[in-house]
Symmetry: C2
Subunit: 430 residues, 2 copies
C-alpha cells in the first residue's frame, strides 16, 4: 500500500453515463415495456435471465416465501431480526410531523408531511444480492408510512432459476409482501410505467448493474429515484493512539467489495503509516477475496501523510468519503470539524461493519464525493411535503397591494388581477 503526501492525492471522480450502446439498449427496453407491458417484461426475462414465465408467474407466492424460511438457518434469521429492530428504531427517530404556524390575523402557513404511496425496491441477483441492503432500503420506507412497498429481483440467481431464499426472508422481515421475479432495465421500466401485473410506483430505490443504473437515470422525473451508487469508499483518520491491526482490517473490509473501492488512511504519524502498511500486507494474505482486495488496495488505496491535524481533517473533507472512521485519541473532539462524510464511525469499537449491518443507521450512503451535498438514505426520502397557505380576508386586505406591485413588475397582470378582484369585492379598491 503506497504512502504519499496528503496534499498530492486526489481521487479521480467520474459520473458513469454508460456507453452509447448501453444507452440505446436501455432506451429500447424502456420503450418496449412502456408500449407492450407484461409481454415485453416476459420476453426480456427469457432473453436475459433465461427463465420462461407467463404473467401470472411473475409474482412471488406466499408459499415460496414460507419455503425460503425453511432453507435459512435460524441463527441468520435471529441476527437479521436484531439488525432490523435497530434499523427500525434509528429511523423512527427521523420521523417528522406536519406543522402549522397559526397567526392571530388568520394566516395559517405550514408543511404537510405525507408518505409516498408506492415504492419499488430493486434487488440485484447473483453475488450482489445482500439481505442487509433489503433491510436498509425497505425499513426507512416502512417507517415513513409508505403503504405499498414492492420488491423486484431477477428470476434467476447466478444462472440458476429462482430467488435467493435469504433475500426473500429479508424482504418478508422488512414487511414486504409484494415481490416480482423481474430484473434489469425491464424491471425498472415496469415499476416506472406499470404493466397489467405490476402497478406503477412513485419512487425506485436500490442498487443494480449499469443497465439498471441507466434505466433509473432515464425514468427519473416519471418517478423519483435514489442516488446512483458509485464504488464504496472508506477513509480512516488516525493518530498514534490507534491500533494498526484494526486500521488494516477496516481498510481491507472496504477493499474486498470490489476492485474500484477506495481505502484511504490519513495520519500525521509516519510510525503508524509504516505499521499499517505492514499489517495490510500481512492480513491480505489470508483473505478469501484476496485478489479483489489486493487490486483495490494497489490501485485505489493510499496511506496519506498530513503535516498536521488541520491538514488531515481538510483532506478528509476534500475527499468527502462514504465511510469515515475516527481512530484518534479523543474522537468526539474531531466531530465538529467533519464537513463531508456519509457515515462517521467514532472510536476503536465502531468498525465499519457495525454500521454496515447492525447499529441502525443506514448503509446506503453517498459515494463518489457526493457526501458534499447528499445524505444517507433516510425517512425523508420517502416523505413528500406540501406547503399549506391560508390567508384570511384581513391578511389579504393588508398585503394585497404589495403582492400586486411585485406581480405587475414581473409583467404578470393576471396574477395582480386575481388579488385585485378580491380587493374590489371587499371595497378596498374602486
Amino acid at each position: 500500500m503506497r504512502i504519499m503526501k496528503a496534499s498530492e492525492f486526489g481521487l479521480n471522480r467520474e459520473v458513469e453515463y454508460g456507453t452509447p450502446e448501453q444507452n440505446r439498449t436501455v432506451e429500447r427496453i424502456l420503450d418496449n415495456v412502456r408500449a407492450e407491458g407484461d409481454a415485453a417484461v416476459l420476453r426480456y426475462t427469457e432473453q436475459f435471465d433465461k427463465v420462461k414465465l407467463n404473467a401470472s408467474q411473475l409474482r412471488v407466492t406466499e408459499e415460496e416465501i414460507q419455503a425460503a424460511y425453511d432453507r435459512v438457518e435460524p441463527k441468520f434469521i435471529e441476527a437479521l431480526r436484531r439488525a432490523a429492530a435497530n434499523i427500525r428504531s434509528f429511523h423512527e427517530k427521523q420521523k417528522r410531523s406536519t406543522w402549522m404556524d397559526v397567526q392571530p390575523d388568520g394566516t395559517i402557513i405550514g408543511q404537510l408531511f405525507r408518505p409516498l404511496r408506492r415504492v419499488g425496491l430493486y434487488v440485484p441477483g447473483g453475488k450482489a444480492a445482500y439481505p442487509s441492503s433489503v433491510l436498509m432500503n425497505a425499513i426507512p420506507a416502512q417507517v415513513a408510512g409508505v403503504p405499498e412497498i414492492v420488491m423486484v429481483t431477477p428470476a434467476s440467481t447466478g444462472g440458476k432459476e429462482g430467488i435467493d431464499p435469504y433475500i426473500l426472508v429479508a424482504a418478508a422481515e422488512a414487511g414486504i409482501h409484494e415481490m416480482y421475479r423481474v430484473g434489469g432495465a425491464q424491471a425498472v421500466a415496469a415499476l416506472a410505467y406499470g404493466t397489467d401485473t405490476i402497478a406503477p410506483v412513485d419512487k425506485i430505490v436500490g442498487p443494480g448493474n449499469i443497465y439498471v443504473a441507466l434505466a433509473k437515470r432515464y425514468v427519473y422525473g416519471v418517478v423519483d429515484i435514489d442516488s446512483i451508487a458509485g464504488p464504496s469508499e472508506i477513509l480512516v483518520l488516525a493518530d498514534d493512539s490507534a491500533d494498526p491491526a484494526y486500521i488494516a482490517a477496516d481498510l481491507l473490509s472496504q477493499a474486498e467489495h470490489d476492485e474500484m473501492a477506495s481505502s484511504i488512511l490519513v495520519t500525521t504519524s509516519k510510525t503508524l503509516a509504516a505499521a499499517v502498511q505492514t499489517e495490510v500486507a500481512r492480513q491480505l494474505e489470508t483473505l478469501p477475496r484476496k485478489a479483489i482486495a489486493e487490486q483495490s488496495i494497489r490501485e485505489r488505496g493510499a496511506i496519506l501523510l498530513a503535516d498536521n491535524e488541520a491538514e488531515a481533517v481538510a483532506t478528509s473533507n476534500r475527499l468527502a468519503p462514504e465511510h469515515l472512521e475516527l481512530l484518534v485519541y479523543e474522537p468526539f473532539g474531531w466531530l465538529g470539524r467533519i464537513e463531508n462524510a456519509g457515515a462517521i464511525f467514532v472510536g476503536p469499537y465502531s468498525t465499519e461493519p457495525v454500521g454496515d449491518y447492525f447499529a441502525g443507521p443506514n448503509h446506503i450512503l453517498p459515494t463518489n464525493g457526493t457526501a458534499r451535498f447528499s445524505s444517507p438514505l433516510n425517512v425523508d426520502d420517502f416523505v413528500k411535503k406540501s406547503s399549506v397557505i391560508h390567508y384570511s380576508k384581513e391578511a389579504l386586505l393588508r398585503d394585497g397591494e404589495d403582492i400586486m406591485t411585485l406581480a405587475k413588475h414581473e409583467g404578470l397582470e393576471a396574477h395582480a388581477r386575481a388579488v385585485e378582484i378580491r380587493l374590489v369585492k371587499e371595497g378596498k379598491r374602486p
Copy 2:
C-alpha cells in the same frame, strides 16, 4: 374552456430530454469549459450573449449593485423586503438540529446536520428574470446556513448588455454578494467544474432554458441540482360556495405564464362549471397576455365534472398539481384527503399569487405530476446529513457475533474479520 367528465381527463406528461443536437451542443460546452475554464466561458458569452468581456469583468461589482438600487422604485423595494421577511420567517421554521441517541451501554447514534458549503443560483435573462424567484431560491439556502451563495445570470438582458437592476436588488436583498455575468450551459459548467474566476459549487438551483436544464442534468452527480421544472399548473377544487369570478381569475393567473401551463377546475357543480366558463371568457378579453392565456386555456385547460366529492379529490390526487386551491365550503375539512400537491391554497382569500410572492412558503414547487414524490424547495435541500455511529467495547462484544454472521453470509469475510480482530483482542474469541 372545455367542460368534460373528470374520469375522462388525463394530462400528457413527458420528461424533456432535448433533441440530440441540443444534447451534443450542451456536451461540447461542458467539455470545453471543463478543459479551458474562463477562456471558454468568455468565448460562449460573446457567441450567445453578444457581450465581449475579459475574465476580470465577469464578476458584478459592488458599484453596479449600488447603481441598481437607484434604478428601482422604493415601493418595489419595500414590497420585496416584506416578502423576503415572510419567506425567511417561514423557512426558519424548517430548520433541524443534529441529534444523538445516547444509550446506557455507550452506544451513540445520530444524525449530524450541516449546510452545504457553496451553492450556485442560476437566474435566466430576459422576461423570465423574476426577482421573486431570486428570493425563493436564495433565502432557503441562506436560512440553512450555506456560507457561500453565488448567482450567475446572462451578461445581456433581452439583447441589451447589462443585468436587470431588479434582479441585482433582489439578490442583494437575499444576501447574495458574489454574482457573475454568465448564463446558459457555460454558466452551469463553470459552477460545476470551477474556473480561475468562479470557484466550483456543491449544488446548482434555479430555472433556465432547455440548454440550462440539459446542462444541469449532465452535471448531476458532480454537483447536486434541484428538480427540472416543467410548465406551471393550477388545479382548483370548488363547490357552489365558491365565487366563479375568483376561480376564473385564479385559473387565468396560471394560464398567462405560458402556452404549456395547465389550469384545471374540478367540481361536482354543473352550475359552477358553466359560470366559470363564462367568467374565463369574459376576463380573458382584457388581459395583456391574452394570446398566451387563451392558447393555454384552450389546449391545456379544462373544467372537470366529478360525480361526487370523492371523485373530485381522487382526480386532484391523480393529477398531483403544482398548485391546488380549495375553494369549498369548509376547506380545512378537505385537507386530510389531499395526497399529492406542491402547495395547497386554502379558502377564498388564499389566491395563488399570495403564495407566489408573499406569504412565505416557497414558490418553487414540483411540476409535471412530481408532487407524487417531491416537495417544494425547502431548507432540507441545502442541508446534508451524516450518520454518527459510536459503539462502546461493551456494545461490540454483545453484537459482534451477529455482525459476523450477517457479513459471512454475504461472503464478506474481511468485514467479519474487522469485528473478529477486536473480539480476539478483548478475549471474547480465541
